[in-house]
Symmetry: C2
Subunit: 357 residues, 2 copies
């Protein structure tokens, strides 16, 4: 049997808490029997659910935590109140201490990002972490980042995003080289996208391992699956993601209205029920559940807050793949090829050179 991989779980995160977290762990365990879990949460909430999943209980350690981060806490409040002691913090800290290989939480995105960045710190040569989404397209899926971990990006940060995104894509899609596009607007020659242009020049010239730079892409190229990885700064990335979600819901609404408008269409619906089920499954956000925080000294996966056990299991699967295929090592290797420095684990040169305060 292959080596054990321990995943730390924040049992209190998400809209449904331990019920879906533990049930999700049970599903993931069926697919990956070498998984173990470090579970953090309130014992009165978690232990009864663990009773129902004896296999998970057997393969887990559990630690009671008194504090749970609320879904609507501001990141600063969550950090002040939940640091050192919340289930979310403890799950992240398990990664820092090396007790777990990755952490999964369905909790408050901003809080998770703030705590993960505070606890794990960014990797050498990476200035800011990023949040990457798995985005369904007509061909399959692509990795889109940054979808909201930070706002604005200079050329260097866009290159870092390309490196991190391509490393993730190589694992998730099981490919040697990931094609990378920079998100841009179609109107040429307008001012203000200098950083995108500069990043494009760097990526073209650097010819990094595992990364095939494919030029600019536009918003409508994401759904076409034109590239494996779409790179943009966090403001526009977050807006693109939310806009696509909104458009999908809007069209589902149109479709529902259209199918119930007449007797004939209702009959048609009955005949085509299987087709609609397939469509619904295709559009099911649970299948591609989980954002990945990239650029930290550890693997941290954000599961959708409203997800069920199936979705949470998909997020655990993602964490498993990232660990099993060495996400952090892949990022470091590509960064080193770029910087020409083989000392992956050392301090960032620019940080080391800073005068002490």
């Amino acid at each position: 049997m292959s080596k054990k991989i321990c995943i730390a779980l924040d049992a209190m995160g998400g809209d449904h808490g331990p019920a879906i977290v533990i049930a999700g762990a049970a599903l993931a365990l069926e697919r990956h029997p070498n998984l173990t879990f470090a579970i953090y949460g309130k014992e009165q909430a978690v232990l009864p659910v663990l009773e129902q999943h004896p296999l998970v209980r057997e393969r887990s350690t559990f630690l009671h935590t008194e504090v749970a981060v609320n879904m609507d806490d501001k990141p600063s409040v969550a950090l002040r109140q939940g640091r050192w002691k919340s289930s979310m913090w403890k799950a992240i800290e398990a990664v820092k201490k090396g007790e777990a290989a990755a952490c999964v939480s369905a909790g408050n995105t901003g809080a998770l990002m703030a705590m993960a960045a505070f606890c794990l710190r960014t990797m050498a040569k990476i200035d800011r972490p990023a949040l990457a989404a798995l985005w369904p397209n007509v061909k399959g899926e692509s990795v889109v980042l940054d979808v909201g971990a930070s706002i604005g990006a200079d050329a260097q940060h866009l290159v870092d995003l390309a490196v991190m995104g391509s490393s993730m894509a190589r694992i998730v899609f099981d490919i040697e080289k990931a094609s990378v596009g920079l998100l841009n607007v179609g109107v040429e020659e307008i001012k203000g996208v200098e950083e995108v242009k500069a990043a494009g020049r760097i990526l073209r010239e650097a010819n990094l391992p595992g990364l095939a730079y494919a030029g600019y892409v536009e918003g409508d190229d994401i759904g076409k699956g034109k590239v494996d990885v779409v790179v943009t700064e966090g403001f526009s990335g977050n807006i693109a993601l939310k806009t696509a979600e909104g458009t999908a819901k809007q069209i589902a609404e149109y479709l529902r209205a259209a199918m119930s408008r007449s007797f004939m269409s209702k009959i048609g619906y009955i005949f085509a029920r299987g087709a609609f089920r397939a469509l619904k499954e295709k559009m099911d956000p649970r299948r591609a559940n989980g954002g990945v925080f990239l650029g930290l000294n550890g693997v941290v996966i954000k599961s959708h807050g409203g997800t069920d056990a199936l979705g949470f299991a998909a997020a655990i699967d993602l964490a498993f793949d990232m660990v099993d295929h060495g996400l952090l090592e892949k990022i470091s290797e590509t960064l080193n090829a770029y910087h020409g420095q083989p000392d992956a684990g050392s301090l960032k040169p620019e940080r080391a050179e800073l005068p002490s305060p």
Copy 2:
């Protein structure tokens, strides 16, 4: 009969040129019998089509222009080669000269923007023009701007966008007061959206006539129709628009695949054909065709390049409404209420105060 309104038409713009422009004019004329047209284009291309539409010919002036702007010309090239003499330039110039009340072109967006800005200049107190889109949502439509006229925006420009967008929305939706949301990301307390926050403070305090500030909206609120007007800077606006278009195509593709996957689903499709036709019509981009350039001393409408006569007619309708309901006056009034200066037509104070070079 009400007063005549003359619209200048660039007959050479778009993928299909005069064929759809003149046919579109004929359709618009049926709805608005007081329209007249000033048509610009190559005589060998335009005159044969005008022969087929005697009513349009009767209600139009025509001027031969030797130069036509290509759909893929860079704006700088188009401006260099097409200024003073192209059909696009002549149509814009007719507005400047007061010979036409508005201009409609299905041509190259970047070129149209560059020429319109160069020829018409921005309105007093407006620094940069904007491109506004009519965006379908589950309740109807909303105005979204800027979708790509310029990149980046400080708080002042975002406020200008709110003023211009609400003026347009009041006309298109025939409402007294338009609700306005600022597009933002959901993650609170992250750096870099200071200009959005500052614009929000200004809009809340200014309490402008015809504009009800509704706070921040996120990408998924656009499709919900949460507000009449969604304001954002041009990079994220363009990406949101293109992403929504891409998502709509992607889902249409899924739907097509789902409906042809089995014998049963094909039968269902036959029964529900009327429903699918209604859905297709709902998603038809021609129905809401036409971006509006806002902030210029004149009404300039961009029709979709690939549109047909029906779509081009919708763009003419839009131009008609903007003129008939005094778009420029509405913008000026609101700007004056904001600046507290009743001298709408005067030079921008900040420009007047600049030392001469």
